[in-house]
């Protein structure tokens, strides 16, 4: 029979080992938040990205220091950027249910997130999307010039303002030259595009 001291040592060592094992196993737990993250479909600006709820196709990305927006009484107004305006023109088609809130973010290479500016009535962020009807318009972001680095557009169907488990398109914009143009970008209101013919005739 081993002495009580040795037995006690063994139990201490066994306890320490078990605690370490428990802590190590904790690393494999998925946090509640991660379990409910949006379900992302990745893609690039070259092709349409199809998620479970909608399809998004980036048409063009513009970077400028000024934005020309509609003012009151049909006039236009220029708004200077606090950094640069990043205007992403997208075609969005809902697949099967109306989408009332499309949550748009711009993610930089270092994972810094910028949300849609939300100021402009003509932004696609104010649109809703009915199934099968393609809407073409622009999401507007404002980013400090030195932070604009390989941006990706994140679109999330946030029905009821809840993004948990929402369908998400993660689109690399492939912006090679982030230098802003001095000419202002005109922000035009979203338009409905019913197939290619309507696009050409109007």
């Amino acid at each position: 029979m081993s002495s009580p001291v040795v037995r006690r040592l063994w139990s201490i060592v066994a306890s320490v080992v078990l605690v370490v094992v428990i802590v190590a196993l904790q690393r494999f737990l998925v946090s509640d938040q991660d379990q409910l993250d949006p379900i992302a479909t990745s893609g690039t600006a070259d092709a349409a990205v199809a998620t479970d709820d909608f399809t998004a196709e980036v048409a063009e990305t513009g970077v400028a220091t000024a934005l020309e927006v509609a003012g009151t009484d049909g006039t236009t107004q220029e708004v200077e950027a606090n950094g640069v305006w990043v205007v992403v023109w997208v075609r969005v088609t809902s697949e099967h249910t109306p989408i009332d809130t499309m949550y748009a973010e711009l993610r930089m290479d270092d994972d810094t997130l910028y949300s849609e500016r939300g100021w402009f009535t003509d932004s696609l962020g104010r649109s809703d999307f009915s199934p099968g009807i393609t809407v073409y318009g622009a999401f507007v972001f404002e980013v400090p010039r030195d932070r604009l680095d390989r941006p990706a557009l994140l679109l999330t169907n946030a029905s009821g303002l809840d993004r948990r488990l929402g369908a998400q398109a993660d689109i690399d914009l492939g912006l090679t030259d982030p230098a802003p143009s001095d000419a202002p970008i005109a922000l035009l209101p979203p338009e409905v595009q019913m197939g290619d013919t309507a696009d050409a005739s109007e």
Partner: protein
């Protein structure tokens, strides 16, 4: 084991390896059997000497603290900063510049032109979160007004919902005070006494409650609180204010 469980050691704290034995022994080991184990001396004169020495040390300590300015509570309010000075908590920096008083038929608004820069996180922070870490009061009455909305100075038609990370933005923070809730007419006196529309719109702030009018307002005081990140039960991050005040500013209002 035998040496470990000698009686004197028992009284001081027992043998770490044999607790059962310890209990049995300590049962009949009274303090009177072990004189001299106490820190207090038996000799009366020695006791007086120890007490006097302790009193002297305590007096010197208190005197020293008093000489060096006394104690200050940990959450002491910092001295008011001037307009244009930056105040910062761990989430964002606020630089207030000037305040304007705007009156309309519903009451009045205090517009504070300020720079806001989020530096604590790499994602947008809602105006509501930023506003909830500030406490604003109208001067000279000191009534609290709650939750500003925000609008861009560059584009006054806008309503700002988020402050973007690492971007210093010139903002109008707007505190509205309703002169009288227009919906109060819909309630009987009894209902109003019970809170009226509070259930729908939340409790009224102090300024509304006490009927502060635009004429009473000469300035605004903004206290910026420290912010800390907590986790909600479903694992989401939430920034809330703490009682610690990191900056105070008083701005006099310009009437327009």
């Amino acid at each position: 084991m035998v040496t470990c469980c000698g009686r004197l050691r028992m009284i001081r704290g027992g043998c770490p390896l044999r607790p059962v034995h310890f209990l049995l022994v300590v049962h009949h080991a009274g303090t009177d059997e072990n004189p001299g184990r106490s820190l207090i001396p038996q000799n009366r004169l020695a006791r007086v000497a120890v007490a006097s020495a302790a009193a002297a040390v305590l007096a010197v300590a208190i005197g020293g603290v008093a000489v060096f300015g006394g104690l200050e509570s940990a959450d002491a309010t910092p001295r008011p900063s001037s307009p244009g000075d930056e105040m910062r908590n761990t989430l964002f920096a606020l630089t207030p510049h000037e305040a304007q008083l705007v009156t309309d038929e519903y009451g009045f608004e205090i517009h504070v032109r300020a720079d806001v820069e989020v530096h604590g996180v790499d994602e947008p922070v809602t105006v509501q979160t930023v506003g909830s870490t500030m406490v604003a009061r109208v001067l000279p009455g000191g009534q609290e007004i709650r939750f500003p909305s925000a609008s861009a100075v560059r584009y006054p038609a806008s309503t700002t919902f988020d402050f973007q990370p690492h971007m210093r933005d010139e903002t109008a923070l707007i505190w509205s005070v309703a002169a009288d809730s227009p919906l109060d007419d819909l309630f009987t006196e009894e209902e109003t006494a019970e809170g009226g529309d509070a259930e729908l719109f939340g409790p009224k702030d102090e300024a509304t409650e006490e009927g502060v009018t635009a004429e009473d307002v000469e300035g605004i005081e903004i206290r910026l609180h420290e912010a800390e990140k907590i986790q909600t039960r479903d694992g989401q991050d939430l920034w809330v204010d703490t009682p610690v005040v990191v900056g105070v500013v008083e701005l006099s209002v310009e009437r327009i």
